[in-house]
Amino acid sequence: MRQAAAAYVPRPRIPLNDYGVLGDPPEPGAWTPTLPVSVVVSTLRGHARSLPLTLAGLAAQSYPDHLLEVIVVDAGDGPPVVLPDRVPERTRVIRPKPGTSTTPDAGAAVADGHVVHLLDADLVLLPEHIEAHMRWHHLADHLVVLSRPRHAPGMDGTRMDGRLDRRLDTTSDLRAAGPKAFNAMVGVPASVPAALLRASGGWQPSGEYTELGYRLALAGAVFVAERHARSVHTGTPAEPDRSYLAEHVPTLRRLRKQRRTHLVPYVEAVVRVGDAAAEDVRATVDGLLASDLHDIVVIVAGPPTGGGAQEIREAYAGRSRVVFAEDAPGRASRSVPFRFHCPPGWVPSPQTLGSIVAFADRKALGVLSLALDEREGVVSARLERTAAMNRARLLARPGEDLDDLVHETFGTLWEAGETWGIAAASAPRPETSRPGQRRVAARRSRNPLRRGLVGLLTRT
């Protein structure tokens, strides 16, 4: 095996998805490639007839032969793939054993290249296609490069093309697309650094490219639209599986109109128990569960060993949205896009989660900190965008503060918790706000003397 990892690739700090900071990539033919690429050709949809065209196109690439390998993944749903005469020098066929993954992931797993270039066997590439993708991968190690195939005459794919073209036009080729850039990844060709593909969890059997794009974004990826990498699609484009995407991609909010839970939650709320009283923990968890956002989970981290532990566990024994953990995992789990840390004893209103996530999206924030109180130190809640945290982890040099990097690439902000409806559990709660009800009642004090005084003062 060659030492792909030895190649040096810079790690520039790209704000949001604005890869314009990288400058213009070199013109094809005017630079010297150094990174090996593994092209993974999937024959999943039985394109045995068009495979020779795909391989011939790969054999005619301007990218240097010694840096190019081709892995054909035989889906095994027909007679074994036989390689035609005209193929790139280093081409192999893998045929996963029955019962194992037959997806491009099987190819990516054996790929040696620094970059994995995903193709289907119904794509024909023009000669500078791979080079046009690869010139970007030499500029930064966390880019996902997307190019759009043209459709062979007579093939139906123009509707989706038009949508994507408009999106590229309105976002300066995704540079201005911000955290939503990933949903431009609707299919192949797409090229991804192998390490980033592994970090994202790799390919899933469903074969939904948007879902892969979503997980790549969570891993910290920046998405580049490359218009000069040309290819022709001879097959029929697959329609996305919307119910699968609804379960797996929480940020596609339009697919989640029902008020229920989904496989991958939108927000993972973490309540660290520490030495807090059981009633404070319960107040916070109850507040979170009452959120208008339904697709959330609450992680109760590190329950105490005393009598309070039993009380907390029993209170939520039947609640599937409450999870107990020994300690809060360092990273957000299960592809969750947002994580919200809330200290026990502080209760968010039903609107809090929805409105802070919307605010963080509007401002493309990586971290939103909410100051709640000041005692010895500042007590605060914190909303983290997984994509921003993982981008920061990717970029951080030893000793660097992750939040500084989040600020450089996405943005951080401090606000007051009360602005967003977080109140102390001990504070008097406003009575259920029925429309038309006067809010004065919420301020009533238990102490009769003070109640009288407050009345006098508010009248003056």
Binding site: A371, L372, E374, G377, V378, W414, T419
Partner: protein
Amino acid sequence: MPVIARPDAARDAALGPELAEAVAAVGEEDLASDLRREETAIRLRRIALRTHGAVARWRAIAASAGLPVPPEPMVSVLLCTRRPEMIPFAIQQMERQREVRLELIVGLHGLPAGSVPATSLPVTVVEAPGGLPFGALLNRMAAAASGTFLAKVDDDDWYGPDHLADLLLAQLYSGADLVGSAPEFVYLEPIDVTIRRRVGTERFAPFVAGGTMLITRAMFDAVGGFRPIPRTVDGQLLEAVQAAGGRIYRTHGFNYVLRRRNAREHTWRPPVQSFLTSYEEQWRGLVFNALMEDAPAYGRQK
């Protein structure tokens, strides 16, 4: 739409070379944001007032006629501290004050003599036991001062190099008995964030930042100085000036950054979150506007 001046010989002759040059140097990027626009405005009016203000004009006319001009007014800076580690930082910021004649009155509140480092400024040191109320010590310091104006500064806030000069200008054009800056910029040390608050400036108003008060000697004596109490001496002085019929003027806050320390080091009210309920702009870390001109960053957390 920003209005950018085009070259105009007649106008430039009337403005004078310094102001003409400054006006010509303003580009669209200097007006791109509210912050930049105000920085630019303050720079320009500073030059205009120093060149074309009534006092400046009379002095220029007298000088050109060969007549003697009176000395510039003296500002006595009252710097009172309990923290020896802050003294060099505070003195450094007074050393870089420009276009002003000043003397420094350092009050050592329960500190040993000899805590004051050597400086090019004229210094008077007043020592007092830690038990003496803050207001009483300030009065002792004022008694040792010889200036026409008394300026109170705090040992841990940041001051731009034109802080005192701009206060003097504001005093000239407002005629107020006490002038001060708006506490527009605040560094929230516990969370390492700098905010800009929306505070109305360039107006007569009852409140100014305590660490920026500049008062005429006459008004100071008229109200009997500071109240000899341990706390709230700033607010009490402002109230006393108003009660005595004096006028208070609040000028811009671009020469001043208030340091909001950690609660455990200081009995601070209001709490830090209340600064976040209404702010105009926010920056991560300790961030200065351009008029602060690389203030020493002493004490930033990291």
